[in-house]
Every structure is written in C-alpha cells, then in structure tokens.
C-alpha cells in the first residue's frame, strides 16, 4: 500500500482519525451559522411553552388524563420542537447545496458517506443533548403547574427518567430524518415542506376504520415516539423495544436512501 503514497512526508492516518477530523469539521460548520441558534431557541420556547400550556389546561380539567400522565404532557412537548429540530437537520445539507459549499466539502472529503455520517453524528448528538436538556427543563415546570392534581408525578417516579431520555432520543431521530431529507431533496424549501409531510401525513391512517387505524398508526414516527415516551400502562401499545426500533427505523431508512443518492449524483 505504500506505493499509493505520493506525498512522501505524509503517512496515511488511521480511519478513526480521519472520521474524527470530518466530525470536527462538521461541528465547526454547525456552530458557526446563526440559523442553528435560532432553531434551537425556537425548539426550546415551543417545547417548554408547549408542555406548560398542556399542563395548565390539564390542571383546569376535571377529568383524569387518559393513559400515562407524563406522556400526556410530553405529547405536546414532542409535537412542538419537532419542526425546528428537523429543520436543523435539513439545513445542515441544503444550505451547502444552496451556496455551492457542498463542492468544497466533497472535494475536501471525497468519501461522501463519511461526510453524511459525520453530519448525522453532529446533528444527532446536538438534538439528543438538547432534547434531554429540554426534557429536564420542561418536566419540573409542567409538574409544578400540575402539583397536587391528578397527573402530577416526580422525577423519582419509576419510569420517568426513561421517558425523559426517550423524548430526547425521539428528537434526535427527527433531526436525522431531516438531514436525510436534506440529502435526498437538496433544496431547502422542498425538504422543509417534506419534513412535516413525512411526520404528520402518515397520521391520516389514524382515521382509517378500526383496527387498521390502530395497527398501522402505531408505526408512524410520531406515534412510535409517543409510545416510546409513555409508560406503557395500557395494552395494545408496541413494546418499548419495538417502538424504539420504529423510531430508529425512520431516520435509518432516510439515511440509507440518502447514502445511495449522495454517492450516485453529481455534486
């Protein structure tokens, strides 16, 4: 293999170093544009505000919540930041296509799958960490609003830490789905429009007659995320492992498609 080295001073670094360098590069890119911070602010405001609003309406309700109260609050929690976090993923690729920067990126790193994987890692980890922070912030707030009412619970309640973690994980999955859409569609407007279509449109199966609505509906991304977040207190839900698999399968399918297309198409 030494024959391949045309630069005699440079030894080929191990692949782990090279991948770490590309991740570092993507990290620099994401934190050096203002849109990242705006989207995270929007996600934070909608997540914390959304869960507080649901808690307030729950507080004034005389009826006990259906199913798991924590999940009930988190349903609102998830629905609101989904778009902002998904768009964060979309933009990390479409902004490069829009400006032409993508050509510099691929000329610097012709291993396009490495670039896609590095972007997915950076976006995924930001969304995960940020999602956990939001979960930890919005949980005490909504519980303070609900305190003394039905539905109130505490962090130490069994299952709650797992639910909080699942909420962050779901946001991470949606961010990576956004990245995949950005790679597949390559235009900001198109990908931003496709994102809610992919998240919300499958929910129309919920209007199908029973049992189809239930059977198919469970496998939509948002429903799988709800099931992952909720405490599985009632029957008919997917098992935690299966809901996790469904939540992961959506971005995984997207990224696989993106990986095939990104290598095949001209930059």
């Amino acid at each position: 293999m030494a024959v391949l080295d045309s630069a005699p001073t440079e030894r080929t670094p191990p692949i782990t170093t090279r991948v770490a360098d590309v991740i570092a590069s993507e990290w620099t890119k994401i934190r050096s544009v203002r849109s990242t911070y705006w989207l995270l602010v929007v996600a934070a405001v909608t997540a914390i505000g959304g869960s507080a609003l649901v808690a307030v309406s729950e507080r004034s309700s005389s009826q006990p919540p259906i199913g798991d109260p924590v999940a009930w609050v988190f349903i609102a929690w998830l629905e609101y930041p989904v778009l902002a976090v998904g768009i964060l993923g979309v933009l990390s690729l479409t902004s490069e296509y829009a400006s032409g920067q993508i050509r510099t990126t691929f000329a610097a790193v012709p291993q396009r799958l490495t670039v896609l994987a590095a972007k997915a890692s950076v976006i995924g980890i930001i969304a995960l960490v940020f999602g956990e922070v939001l979960a930890l912030a919005s949980f005490p707030l909504s519980q303070a609003i609900l305190s003394g009412r039905h539905g109130a619970t505490s962090l130490s309640h069994p299952g709650v830490p797992g639910e909080l973690f699942a909420a962050g994980l779901s946001l991470s999955a949606i961010a990576m789905l956004g990245l995949a859409l950005g790679a597949i569609i390559r235009h900001t407007a198109g990908a931003v429009a496709a994102l809610p279509a992919l998240i919300y449109l499958p929910l129309v199966v919920l209007t199908l007659p029973y049992p189809w609505n239930d059977t198919i509906g469970k496998f939509t991304l948002l429903m799988a995320a709800y099931q992952l977040v909720s405490e599985h207190s009632h029957t008919g839900l997917l098992s935690p492992l299966l809901s996790l698999a469904v939540v992961v399968a959506w971005p995984a399918a997207g990224l696989l498609t993106a990986g095939v297309l990104i290598q095949r198409r001209d930059a």
Binding site: L4, S6, P13, R103, A107
Partner: protein, 323 residues
C-alpha cells in the same frame, strides 16, 4: 486491481465524455497538465471548462473516460486537500460564516492546523477581515479567500476556475505573480479563463477547448508563433495586375473588401517597391498584426454556443500588437 503510480503533480484527462441528458458537455476530451508551469484552460462560456474541473475533482461522474491525479482517481486520494487545492466558485460559501471559520472547517477535515490557516490568510491579504461574515465580502475579497482556501493544504496541484473574476487591477497582478511563483516552485497550476489576453500574460501552456472538444494543446510561445500572423492590406485600382505581380514574388493574397488585398509573405516596403517599379498605383498600404485574442476567437468561433453578433471572418485589428 492494478495500482498505477503516475508522476506526481500530473493531471491526466483521458477520453472524457460527459452528457447531461441530450446535451454533450464533454466530447472525448483528452489532455495532460504538467507541473512546473501555469497551464491556462481556455474556452468560450459553455465550452465545458467547469465541467472538466468538476470531473477532475471527483464531483461529477463522467459518462465515459477518466481523469487521474498522479495516476489515481480523485476519490481514491486520502485527505486530497493536502495534494490538490481547488477554487471553483468564490461565492460558494455560507454567507453567515466568517472567513476564518470557512477555512478552519476545511482545514479540520484534512487534518491541517490553525497555523497554516493563519499563514494563508496572511499570504492572501484577507487576514484583517477574516472574522467578518463572508456575506459582507466584495467579490475580490471572496476570490482572495478562495485562493487562501485552495492553498490551505500546501498542495502540489492547484486548480482554479476563473480566479481573476472580480479582482481589481492590483488583485489581477497579484494573482498572476502568485501563479507564476507557485509554478516556479514546481507545482502544477491549472487555471481556467475565457480571456486569452489574461492567459497570454499568466500561462506557459494552453489547453483550449470548445463545445467539449480539444481545440489546441500548445505552449503559449508556439501559439503566438502560429497564430499571431501579420499581413499587409493593399488597395489598388489595378488589383488584378498587382495580385499577379505579388504572387510571382511568393506572396499569398486573398481579396479583402473593395479593391483590397490581404497580402502575406511580403512586407509593406517590398510591396511598395514592387508596385512602384511596375507603375501600379497603390491607394493604401497598411501593415496589420493579428492579436492573440483574435487568433483565439478564430479558433473557437465555430464552437461558440451563442455568438453575440460577432463579425465573422478574419478581421484583423489595425496597428494592434500581439501581446
């Protein structure tokens, strides 16, 4: 798999064909770019220069043929920015990112240190504005930043697409000297332009393409010798008699307008003396020199996609000297 190690710094383009639907952008294009000199890549707009560069950089997949860097496809190079620096489009940056961040992100991807980022910012004279968002840069500053980016990996090969666009005269002079210096250091400098006049001043070698085909692969010197021909415009009421006379002395003559003769092979004083000796009246006698630009236009004329009212034929500017 056979591994061929080509000469370092050499770009080989072999039988390159690129079709976009029914449009053929590159048509069996082949040439070699050598180190130690500036190679100008010339052609009218739409000739396929940018497409060729994108294929060389592994960004576009060719329909046929291949492009090799030191014997390898670009995609096979690990950390290619250390071997090949490129500037395709100076505007291709996120406008909100600072110049420093733009360079640093590319440096990181190829394991290049911060010291080198500072060096190239300094070298290209954009250090003072490096913390500003690139969206606020003028095109000239973006070109300088783009050159800084291309030089980031201290590459053996430099590929630039229209780097002179948007530069002020001082910038143009700077970039010309920079390319010459880099070539003198033994690097391969491959620069595209649609301006012959620019390349005549910068390049040592020329690769001229039109409609995706190779039109010329020649040294600038040879191109000037072969193309910067001169002739003499002669007008006479006895054009036929003069034609016979001059032809008998070895001149090549073509009709040029009303009673005009374009004469090559004899200089103006000789023509005047010959005419005077035979008492043939001469009304005009004008030595003319073709510019390199004109020679280039003649060469690419047939391949221009959208000729914009360019007069056809061998129009030769009076009293203009080949650059």
């Amino acid at each position: 798999m056979t591994i061929r190690k080509g000469p370092p710094g050499v770009i080989e383009v072999e039988g390159l064909t690129k079709r976009f639907g029914s449009l053929t952008a590159l048509d069996d294009l082949g040439f070699t770019v050598q180190p130690d000199r500036v190679t100008g890549f010339l052609g009218p707009n739409g000739a396929g220069k940018s497409t060729t560069m994108r294929v060389i950089l592994g960004l576009d997949a060719p329909t046929g043929g291949r492009a090799l860097i030191a014997g390898r496809g670009y995609g096979q190079i690990i950390r290619p920015w250390r071997q090949v620096g490129s500037l395709l489009d100076a505007n291709a940056m996120h406008p909100g990112r600072s110049g420093w961040q733009h360079l640093w992100s590319v440096a990181q991807s190829n394991g290049i240190g911060k010291r080198r980022v500072r060096e190239v910012l300094d070298l290209t004279g954009v250090e003072s504005v490096a913390q500003r968002p690139v969206g606020t840069f003028s095109l000239g500053m973006k070109q300088r930043l783009g050159i800084a980016l291309a030089l980031l990996g201290d590459p053996a090969i430099l590929i630039c697409d229209e780097p002179v666009n948007g530069l002020d005269p001082e910038g143009v002079h700077w970039i010309r000297e920079l390319f010459k210096t880099l070539a003198a250091e033994g690097r391969t400098v491959f620069v595209s332009s649609y301006l012959m006049s620019e390349m005549a001043l910068t390049a040592d070698h020329l690769i001229i393409i039109g409609r995706g085909r190779l039109l010329a692969d020649t040294s600038v010197e040879d191109f000037i010798k072969a193309n910067a021909r001169s002739d003499v415009l002669v007008r006479s009421p006895q054009a036929d008699a003069l034609t016979t006379l001059l032809a008998s002395h070895g001149a090549a003559i073509t009709a040029d307008g009303d009673h005009g003769l374009a004469v090559t092979g004899l200089d103006a004083p000789t023509i005047a003396d010959l005419a005077a000796a035979q008492a043939i009246p001469v009304h005009e006698l004008t030595p003319r020199h073709a510019t390199l630009e004109q020679a280039y236009l003649d060469l690419t004329q047939a391949s221009v996609d959208y000729p914009a009212g360019v007069p056809s034929g061998n129009e030769i500017d009076k009293e203009t000297v080949a650059s």
